[in-house]
């Protein structure tokens, strides 16, 4: 029963705001915030729910002979833990937005879309079958579109929301193909637990795995394509940095903590499929690893505070995706983590990352708010003294992200690097460690430039601490950034953590060295500087991905569309319509001559007719008689 409340509450809130925001005015904000608080309380109750209930049907969305796409609620440790993260951070972001969006005219629209997002994200978390997953997958895309485009009057925001939706659509194209392949192979059943059973206990799917492994690899990679879009992995990563055009609380909730993590969550759910295909596991690990490194390199040269965090999110998501692949690779070698219901390293990093990255984004929101919507870190400086609470919480978040020992990020990053180490492919581990050093570098840079030194502009000089509704969520998230790595929270949350594997001295020391090198390098380079001493065009311009894609779209889509349109007009319409009509017109002009109104012509025709008639009667008819 709990689960349906979690799903319906934000839906009703969104519907009420859509229909009645003019009458409700300010009350619509309270409805949205209230529903998010109740949803959080319900999720705590859900944490204690029996996790052996399996899947329960809530609503038969489509149910005809041979095809079911129901709204099924799946209640297990993973969905319970993820639900806690989503509703908890969702609630804090709602509260934070009360302050951040105070002066926005379109507040009801913002909170309505936020409620729609909570509904869609809850659906993904609870999804018991792949069709339901896809349905909410798309709805999350819609709410992300609406929220990125909240300030649609700005051309940059309008372009960014379109880009986000379309890039995700490309991912969903693959996702749907993957679902359809599994749907066909498993005879119409795409319930996630049934699919898992089909792989383990045999059946048609199991047979295909041995007779046609390529198809399973194709299915796994197609499903993964959905995650590539949603979790912004290379090569579909370009939308996430642009998505920062949305209001900052949105960036914290959707584009850092929850929605972008949905791809990882889905892949963890489908990890049996990845395990079934060695090639797919390697490709997934490789893409995650590549994204982690590329994004970290790009982050080192960004000057917009939100963009640094966005690239950092990309990079951390790359870590999680790498862990998905690496765990599967380890399992293929028989090195699966043991114990009852072992946690997944990717989920563990998702869990800790959600807290500290949401906190960093909200912190950057507080900074932007205080500096009158200034986002360039080189125009800040010295904020440490003006905004002490923001500074300390931001520092804790930064430390957690860099992987300072004893903070949550340290444990989860070590778990990810540990699985990379176990995967049998040392390149993954080495690149992972390099990325860790880069992470320490760019986060230290951000902290030094924005918070230390002297204020470089007036707006930084006059910055004051944000109001209570904004500081409180920061403080709460800061606490969780510290403690979420330890076993002191509820059991389903403990289940997020993979069993600690002994004998990873290398991994431990590699993390420490990476941290020291990265942070030390940044302190050395950036202390007391007023402008960036390093300038690497390639990183600052994000490896020119946007420019390359723009060319691809212009050539492969717009130019081709132009050519096809021309061909369609000339040939299809020409052959099917204009040519016949021209022939008819020509014939008409020939026969028209016969009816010109000239007496001689008619007489001539008459004579010809008489001759023909006589010929027929005299010569042809008698022969037919025979």
């Amino acid at each position: 029963m709990n689960a349906s409340i979690l799903l319906l509450l934000p839906l009703f809130s969104a519907l009420i705001i859509l229909l009645g925001h003019r009458q409700l005015k300010g009350a619509s904000v309270l409805i949205s915030v209230g529903s998010s608080i109740i949803a959080f309380l319900a999720s705590i109750a859900f944490l204690g729910a029996d996790d052996n209930e399996g899947t329960k049907m809530l609503l038969p969305f489509i149910d005809v002979e041979g095809f079911r796409a129901g709204i099924d609620v799946m209640s297990d440790k993973q969905s319970q833990g993820m639900m806690f993260i989503v509703t908890f951070i969702g609630m804090l972001v709602h509260i934070f937005s009360l302050g951040y969006m105070k002066d926005d005219e379109a507040r009801p629209r913002f909170f309505g879309a936020l409620s729609l997002f909570m509904f869609s994200m809850t659906g993904i978390v609870l999804a018991g079958n792949l069709f339901m997953m896809f349905i909410f997958w798309e709805l999350v895309g819609l709410s992300s579109y609406l929220l990125i485009g909240h300030w649609y009057q700005k051309n940059s925001a309008a372009d960014a929301c379109k880009k986000a939706f379309l890039t995700n659509r490309i991912g969903d194209f693959g996702f749907m193909i993957g679902i359809l392949i599994l749907f066909g192979l498993n005879q119409g059943d795409v319930a996630i637990d049934n699919l898992q059973d089909a792989f383990v206990q045999g059946g048609p799917l199991f047979d295909v795995q041995h007779s046609n492994p390529g198809l399973i690899t194709a299915a796994a990679l197609c499903i993964f394509m959905g995650a590539v879009g949603k979790s912004a992995q290379f090569p579909l990563h370009v939308w996430l940095p642009d998505a920062m055009e949305g209001p900052t609380p949105v960036s914290a909730l959707i584009h850092a903590a929850t929605m972008v993590a949905a791809g990882v969550y889905m892949m963890v759910r489908m990890s049996f499929l990845v395990t079934a295909s060695p090639l797919a596991a390697e490709i997934i690990a490789g893409i995650g690893c590549g994204t982690a490194l590329l994004a970290a390199l790009m982050a080192t040269q960004q000057n917009d505070i939100k963009r640094v965090l966005a690239y950092s999110t990309l990079s951390q998501l790359g870590y999680m995706v790498m862990a998905v692949g690496a765990v599967a690779m380890a399992a293929q070698h028989g090195e699966a983590p043991h114990g009852p219901d072992p946690g997944h390293a990717a989920m563990f990093h998702l869990y800790t990352h959600a807290f500290f990255k949401a906190m960093l984004f909200l912190g950057s929101g507080a900074v932007i708010y205080a500096c009158h919507h200034e986002q360039d870190i080189w125009k800040m400086g010295g904020l440490r003294k003006h905004m002490p609470v923001t500074f300390y919480t931001f520092a804790i978040g930064t430390a957690a992200l860099m992987g300072v020992p004893l903070l949550s990020g340290f444990w989860s990053k070590e778990a990810v690097l540990g699985t990379a180490y176990d995967s049998g492919c040392k390149v993954l581990f080495i690149i992972g460690a390099i990325t860790a050093a880069l992470t320490a570098f760019y986060m230290t840079r951000l902290l030094i430039v924005a918070f230390f030194g002297k204020p470089r502009t007036d707006s930084a000089h006059h910055a004051t601490e944000a109001p209570m509704v904004m500081i409180l969520p920061l403080a709460i998230l800061a606490i969780f950034s510290v403690i979420s790595g330890y076993d002191i929270l509820a059991t389903p949350l403990q289940a997020m953590k993979p069993p600690h594997v002994e004998g990873h001295q290398t991994v431990f020391w590699a993390s420490i060295v990476a941290l020291l090198v990265g942070a030390g390098g940044a302190i050395h380079l950036y202390r007391g500087k007023d402008k960036d001493p390093v300038s690497i065009k390639l990183f600052a311009n994000k490896f020119y991905f946007d420019e390359i894609y723009a060319v691809i779209v212009r050539v492969c889509q717009d130019r081709v569309a132009w050519i096809v349109t021309g061909l369609e007009r000339v040939f299809v319409d020409g052959i099917v319509a204009r040519l016949p009509s021209a022939i008819v017109a020509r014939l008409g002009s020939v026969t028209r001559v016969l009816q010109g109104g000239h007496l001689q012509g008619y007489t001539f025709l008459l004579g010809g007719g008489v001759i023909a008639a006589v010929y027929l009667v005299v010569f042809v008819l008698p022969r037919l008689g025979h």
């Binding site: 051309n155 359809l180 192979l185």
Partner: protein
């Protein structure tokens, strides 16, 4: 007297009354509203049943057996609901126009209802032709273009559809001759279907006849490459006509394929050469027309071409031929009809207020007309295939229906599905471009529009709400189709 006869007669009588001088708005709104109530009532009555219901037959000729016979099953009722909803919205949104607008809307709607609710091949065909006449006349007389140009467009559509109808007529006559059984010719669809069950045609012949009917019915639905009448006709047609033809009347060809061609020739689309031809043609609809739509730079052009493109998905269901896919096709016929009628309705309003529909000139309208923008978003996102709006359910069922019985080898059908899925990406590209161009961005273009008054919003709200309700609860419609298709 069957309730269906009242449903068919009401709009025709109302059209007559308006022609004789009755108050146009009241008469048309009254008739269409009562019609909607009657259709919903029949659907409630029908729930849980299967096969034809509300049948009634009035014999007209002995030999060939011809009678005015009505009857409806789930499919016809769903399409009747589509017709009445669109007809209601279409006459509701007419403002300050001569009575001919009401009359032609009622005639088109009444003709479509007749085609969907009669069970005699002769009348099915005749009612469709009846509905086409006012369509052509309205494009020629009141089209949105220079007189010479709109006449040319009307003539093109007339001749094109006339030729298509002729092919169709040949196919229908052939079918009647083949399946009449015994000496007496019959036009009764049920009798023909029973005969087809008893003595099916040999496979090759089924393929030939099906292909003939496919071309005939298909050119009415703008099946590639017989589609080039559609885009200029829709772009030129007056708003209610564009709503009714693209939303309702175009579905007649699909209905005919589902109702006449498939039951008589169940193996037809599975004959290899027919299947391949169908796959190529529907890919033409989806990919070629998808690219053409992307190239469009005016809203009416985008909508007209997108409506051609989306027909490809329904033809995909015929190629797949499974029960799931065909039910999905019915769902999508309904959904597409509602969403395109909504979009054309709004597009007509925009043209009235702005005088231009070019993306390059427009922008930022969302700031001035928020309610209008939300309504447009419903239509746009429905046609993109967003879950929660009804097009998604139809598309999903068609895709899934094409993959049932998938054994691990990808056939040409499966590859077609994969290519068709790319069409879903293309739909998003052109719809979001349109949305971005018109509603987002700065509002300093010099073109302004305001939200329609409350009563003028209602017809569009009706359509948007239908999309939402049937999109969230597709079983409301699916439960009407208990019997397996075809």
């Amino acid at each position: 007297m069957s309730v269906l006869e009242i449903i068919i007669a009401l709009p025709l009588l109302a059209a007559l009354a308006v022609g004789l001088g009755a108050p146009a708005r009241v008469a048309s709104l009254g008739a269409t509203f009562v019609n909607l109530v009657l259709v919903v009532y029949s659907m409630v009555q029908y729930a849980g049943k299967s096969g034809l219901a509300f049948t009634h037959s009035r014999p007209i000729l002995e030999n060939p057996a011809l009678s005015f016979a009505v009857g409806a099953d789930g499919i016809s009722l769903i399409l009747a609901l589509l017709t009445t909803l669109v007809m209601l919205a279409a006459v509701w949104q007419i403002e300050d126009r001569p009575n001919i607008f009401f009359i032609s809307s009622l005639l088109i709607g009444g003709g479509a209802l007749g085609a969907f609710l009669t069970t005699d091949v002769f009348f099915i065909y005749a009612f469709h032709e009846l509905a086409l006449i006012p369509t052509f006349l309205m494009i020629a007389l009141h089209g949105r273009a220079e007189p010479a140009q709109r006449k040319a467009v009307a003539w093109k559509a007339t001749i094109y559809l006339g030729a298509g109808s002729l092919v169709l007529l040949a196919g229908l006559v052939w079918a009647v001759l083949e399946f009449s059984g015994g000496a007496k010719l019959t036009f009764d669809l049920e009798a023909l279907r029973n005969q087809a069950k008893l003595t099916p045609l040999p496979l090759e012949k089924q393929g030939q006849l099906f292909f003939l009917l496919l071309v005939g019915f298909g050119s009415l639905v703008s099946l590639f490459p017989f589609h080039s009448w559609a885009a200029p006709a829709y772009a030129t047609a007056p708003t209610p006509v564009a709503m009714l033809h693209s939303g309702v009347l175009k579905k007649f060809g699909l209905y005919g394929l589902l109702r006449i061609a498939l039951p008589l020739l169940p193996q037809g689309p599975q004959v290899e050469w027919v299947q391949n031809a169908l796959l190529v043609m529907l890919l033409g609809n989806i990919l070629v027309m998808g690219l053409v739509t992307i190239h469009a730079n005016r809203l009416d052009d985008t909508l007209a071409n997108s409506s051609v493109m989306h027909m490809g998905y329904i033809f995909l269901a015929f190629a797949a031929g499974t029960d799931i896919a065909l039910k999905g096709a019915v769902m999508l016929m309904f959904a597409h009809g509602i969403s395109i009628a909504l979009l054309f309705g709004l597009c007509g309003r925009m043209r009235n207020q702005l005088g231009t529909l070019e993306y390059a000139k427009l922008g930022g309208l969302a700031s001035h007309a928020p309610a209008f923008t939300v309504l447009f978003a419903f239509g746009a996102f429905a046609s993109i295939g967003l879950p929660g709006l009804s097009n998604f359910a139809g598309e999903l069922m068609i895709f899934a229906g094409s993959f049932t019985g998938f054994k691990g080898t990808l056939t040409s059908l499966h590859w077609t599905v994969i290519l068709a899925l790319w069409g879903v990406v293309m739909s998003a590209v052109y719809m979001l471009r349109a949305y971005r161009g018109i509603f987002h961005g700065g509002a300093n273009t010099g073109f302004f529009m305001i939200d329609p008054a409350f009563s003028q919003r209602l017809p569009f709200v009706l359509l948007a709400a239908t999309l939402l309700v049937t999109g969230c609860c597709p079983w409301l419609l699916l439960n009407l189709m208990k019997t397996a298709l075809p």
